[in-house]
Symmetry: C2
Subunit: 344 residues, 2 copies
């Protein structure tokens, strides 16, 4: 079968690899219907040292189950499934608390231990816990939005929950990538009164507005922070969705959060530390977030997708075949594309 | 009148100063019935550079109103009041959100702008918002517990709320000072299932147990963290009350918090930063807290004090007159006393 391997920064190849198979009795084998390229794939695309044999890429997919191991009970061949970016047993203490990203038997797709989803098929560990069986057959019209539930929509929702978005709150979203755009959807869905997108790409801003952003701030740094404060009566926002993970994005988050407010961070941190005292401590700012337990959120978000109330699939603005995955990385890295869907 | 001034680290004096008076029409003048020395007073006691004329000390008191300015409406002469450590107008957006420590017209007693409470009397800015009028006459038996509502009990409660203590949760309290001990009371009051006190002073541990601690860990650093994990099924606690504010206490908090858990920090940070990535981000750890809006919490906690369900006043283990305040600082600094009450 064909699969995507990254050999070093900028070097992504689609190659013939051994077919994915069942290894553990708790595994499932899934044929990929749609996968995609994640903003977080761009970090190694920019800085990964050479890896011998390449690193298997991709952690988002919807697909059809081809086979299951002998201990799998809840999932069967033919099921149309969402594969969250983390696998999880569904039974441990953390899974029961809906924090599947901390599952004691869990891990991450495309992490080295388990292969990635930018491929024709892949092995799913802990299939009973990991896979969400959809009530619908594979459907082209909904494919993009269903695919978004494997990561970006659930991650945007996690940022909004971590930032304590609620009816009447003022919200800012840092990052106009797919997660930030899904954060806008999540903030609106949770009843935010004001949603300010910090971004400067016309196409992304247009989508943010379509998703419910009530304002846009294109300035960066202190000028951008001053603009957000101006738009919020001088005090900043109750909730910041930090969807980037850079030191400047975290500094901006701290500069625009209102006293007593919260920062929900979902951008993998490429900064070392969070300033301890001002304004975090003296302003009673809450910092929360991390890898989103998207497995838990599928059941919360799916009805809105199936009934058309939210359309997170609109973040995909390009569809490529597996052979064009390297071009997809280039397009996202050059910001020519928000998010690339892969149709193997 | 007599008042306490700190001239530099270790140099605390009780001196005759001009009588406190009404200055603004929104002020009240309060005669101090009880004041006390705070753990946070020990930071300048250990490292304050010389201050010309001295710094007026003390930010916790109960007292009787002697006079009020012409614009004061809710408070009158003769009222028995609790003075929270921060003053606040009671009407701004933040006060309405119960975050009086961020009041737009607020500030802190003993901060330079406003004199401190280790004195015979003091001026109370924004009296209508700041002072909590007690329904009872000045009562010696309850004085200590009422006094604790001006800071330490409210601060321990704030740590517990910021750490999201709730029924069934496993809790650790870092710091066996008065705030940490009040944190134990707060955790028990909020229904914690397990409360582990990290501390090593026999008298404080005994009090922590009396307040509801179910376990004590005396080891420090990684040994202490390992012990906490051992006591909690290997995963750590849902809630950490960080009541110290040093770099080692924050490191311990991060080492013992469970994935998905929260750290409520109320110790004034004497560390620069909070580690961004591991475990804070990958473990979805929430970091929250700051100066406690004790003004908001008085109405929540007072019934439990008046009806004897909680006895936070037991943290006071020494009572001194105003002249003995310098000796009180020495005793607390040497850890001979948990918390010193001042009876002017």
């Amino acid at each position: 079968m064909r699969a995507t391997l990254m050999y070093s920064a900028g070097d992504v190849r689609v190659e013939h690899v051994p077919d994915a198979t069942i290894v553990e009795p708790t595994d499932a084998l899934v044929r990929v219907v749609r996968a995609c390229i994640c903003g977080s794939d761009l970090w190694p695309y920019r800085d990964m040292p050479p890896v011998e044999g390449g690193r298997s890429m991709g952690h988002e997919a919807i697909g059809v189950v081809e086979d299951v191991g002998r201990d799998v009970r809840r999932v069967k061949a033919g099921d149309f499934v969402i594969m969250p970016f983390a696998f999880s047993d569904g039974t441990c203490e953390f899974c029961q608390e809906r924090l599947q990203t901390s599952c004691v038997h869990g891990g991450f797709f495309g992490s080295g231990r388990v292969n990635g989803a930018q491929a024709e098929a892949l092995r799913i560990p802990q299939a009973d816990g990991t896979l969400y069986v959809l009530p619908t057959p594979a459907d082209d019209a909904l494919a993009a939005s269903l695919l978004s539930l494997s990561d970006v929509m659930g991650t945007g929702h996690h940022a909004a929950l971590a930032a304590r978005v609620a009816p009447g709150k003022r919200v800012a979203v840092i990052g106009d990538g797919a997660v930030g755009l899904c954060g806008v959807i999540a903030a609106k869905r949770l009843g935010a009164e004001q949603i300010i997108m910090l971004g400067r790409h016309a196409d992304r801003i247009a989508l943010a507005r379509a998703f419910g952003a009530t304002g846009v701030v294109g300035e960066r740094g202190e000028a951008g922070a001053a603009k957000v404060r101006e738009l919020t009566g001088g005090f900043g926002v109750h909730a910041v969705l930090e969807c980037v993970g850079s030191d400047t994005s975290m500094a901006t988050a701290m500069a625009i959060v209102r006293a007593g407010g919260a920062i929900g961070r979902v951008g993998v941190p490429h900064y070392d530390a969070i300033p301890a005292a001002q304004p975090a401590f003296y302003g009673n700012v809450t910092v929360s977030g991390g890898p989103a337990p998207v497995r838990a959120y599928i059941e919360d978000l799916l009805p809105d997708v199936l009934e058309g109330r939210i359309e997170p699939g609109r973040v995909f603005d390009r569809v490529v075949g597996l052979e064009q995955v390297p071009a997809g990385y280039r397009a996202m890295d050059a910001r020519e594309s928000v998010k690339v869907m892969v149709k193997p």
